[in-house]
């Protein structure tokens, strides 16, 4: 469960997912601002700050995890981000408000409301899966630290 072999692969998967997601958003900040706005959870004045900074946090933390620097910090940041993403999707799912996830940037694809709601459920399941991977990295790094002491 906490073997270095497994932890290294989990780190790689997490780093790859967040770097790809972050780069997609960095390529088009106005598009990401649009997606954040669609969630109807963030005040208008804060949307652009989030759209500019959040993707870079994903990329920098992803790269840190990839090269094995600050692994615990990167995993902690991913954990917080995933909880926020899960919360945002869940709130809109409960509202019955279909939104595009905006998780990986890129152009909006025309979809029906039912398709969007389905994608939101898939997004929540995916984020919960990623959260489990984050838990594995946090537990493994804690154990490593304890062993070093």
């Amino acid at each position: 469960m906490f073997s270095p072999w497994l932890t290294a692969r989990v780190q790689f998967v997490l780093a790859a997912v967040f770097v790809v997601a972050g780069v997609g958003k960095i390529m088009d900040p106005p598009g990401f601002a649009h997606e954040i706005h669609n969630y109807r959870l963030v005040p208008g004045v804060a949307i652009n700050v989030l759209a500019i900074v959040l993707p870079w946090i994903e990329v920098v933390a992803g790269l840190a995890l990839f090269v094995g620097l600050a692994r615990r910090s990167a995993a902690r940041i991913f954990g917080v981000l995933l909880l926020v993403f899960i919360g945002a999707l869940s709130i809109n799912l409960v509202r019955g408000r279909p939104v595009d996830c905006g998780c990986f940037g890129g152009p909006r694809v025309p979809k029906t409301d039912a398709e969007r709601l389905g994608d939101m459920r898939v997004g929540i399941a995916r984020d919960i899966g990623l959260l489990l991977l984050v838990g594995q990295v946090l537990a493994a790094t804690r154990r490593e630290e304890r062993d070093r002491r």
């Binding site: 960095i26 390529m27 088009d28 900040p29 106005p30 598009g31 601002a33 649009h34 706005h37 109807r40 208008g44 004045v45 804060a46 949307i47 652009n48 700050v49 759209a51 500019i52 900074v53 993707p55 870079w56 946090i57 990329v59 920098v60 933390a61 840190a64 620097l69 600050a70 615990r72 910090s73 990167a74 902690r76 940041i77 025309p110 630290e145 070093r148 002491r149």
Partner: protein, 193 residues
Amino acid sequence: MRRDSSWRDTFVILVVSGTAAVVLNALAGPERKLLWIGSYAEVAVSRAAPPPAAAGASVTPASPEESGRVFAPHPDKPWVEISGDDVVALHKGGNVLFLDARRTSLYRLGHIPGARPFSVWEVGIDDKVKGLFAEGRDQSAPVVVYCTGGDCEDSHMVGQKLYFVGFDNVLVYKDGFPDWEKRGLPVDRGDAP
């Protein structure tokens, strides 16, 4: 006892991310740049169809007058949603300003002839609205704004901005550019209106 350095590392990651974001946003071109403080109005896009064109209007009426529709100013509303038939009539009339609220990259791929790019998500939108005001146009004349139809609210947001500077006859093309294309109407490409 060793101190947990992961909080310091977290701080470093956030600082590096913030610095990269500031630098890259400063260097970004106009279609990718964002102002740090956004100004986005909350708009409620109706799911109902817009009022149909007046009785007797054909699918492609020659002018607003022929369609029997009157587009009077509506000083207490930021916009009014109109149907594709009305939009076609207004476009054929020739004197109506059209604004494309979609992203400039989409505008470049195809837009309604004569429409100007007015993406609400790009950094120059407030300057464009001020520029329109500064042109000294008749603010009670119809202005048609469109985006991609459906639940797209970009045209409503542009309409709201225009309303705030005094344009009180903003007409939102409810079904947007996809409807225009579906009707087989002419499309211009490139940066020029």
